[in-house]
């Protein structure tokens, strides 16, 4: 079975970094609802994350299911590699 290209890991790491920042900012904003600076940063990273997700999925297929990701043809969300196999 062919290996995933090196780029897979780079984009995935970017995605994980974006997710982590979003988690941190969400928790921060829960206790600081009127911090405009953080809200702008949060929205910036939401946009950034959408872009990275689109880039990843265009190359390596859907990340999530039930409408969270577009599907390729044929129906390919079940194809390897799965997250624990990567």
């Amino acid at each position: 079975m062919k290996q995933v290209p090196e780029e897979y890991y780079q984009i995935m790491e970017q995605l994980q970094a974006m997710d982590f920042v979003l988690v941190e900012l969400t928790l921060y904003l829960d206790t600081h609802p009127d911090d405009l600076e953080a809200i702008n940063q949060f929205n910036h990273y939401v946009k950034e994350r959408k872009h990275i997700k689109k880039m990843f999925e265009s190359q390596f297929g859907p990340l999530q299911q039930f409408g969270n990701s577009y599907s390729g043809y044929p129906w390919n969300w079940k194809d390897a590699p799965w997250p624990w196999q990567v």
């Binding site: 970017q14 970094a17 982590f20 921060y28 911090d35």
Partner: protein
């Protein structure tokens, strides 16, 4: 470097089977000294934050055991 190390001195009995450890150090997390988090603290870049485990530099709290410290374990 994290300066929130504190020490305590366990009791050493004359009948201890092994040589007693006279001083033990432990690390206290930085958020104890901060209270309510002020806005606009300096931040890591996303990739650094992923490694460091926190987005804000002030909350970065690495723990290095004595072996790692001997090898010069510096925070990334």
């Amino acid at each position: 470097m994290n300066t929130h190390f504190k020490t305590y001195h366990p009791y050493a009995s004359p009948f201890d089977p092994c040589t007693p450890i006279l001083e033990k150090t432990y690390s206290t997390p930085p958020h104890l000294y901060m209270g309510f988090q002020p806005p606009n603290l300096p931040q890591f870049t996303p990739l650094e934050a992923l490694r460091a485990g926190t987005l804000w530099k002030d909350f970065y709290d690495p723990w290095y055991n004595s072996l790692e410290k001997a090898k010069g374990g510096l925070p990334t």
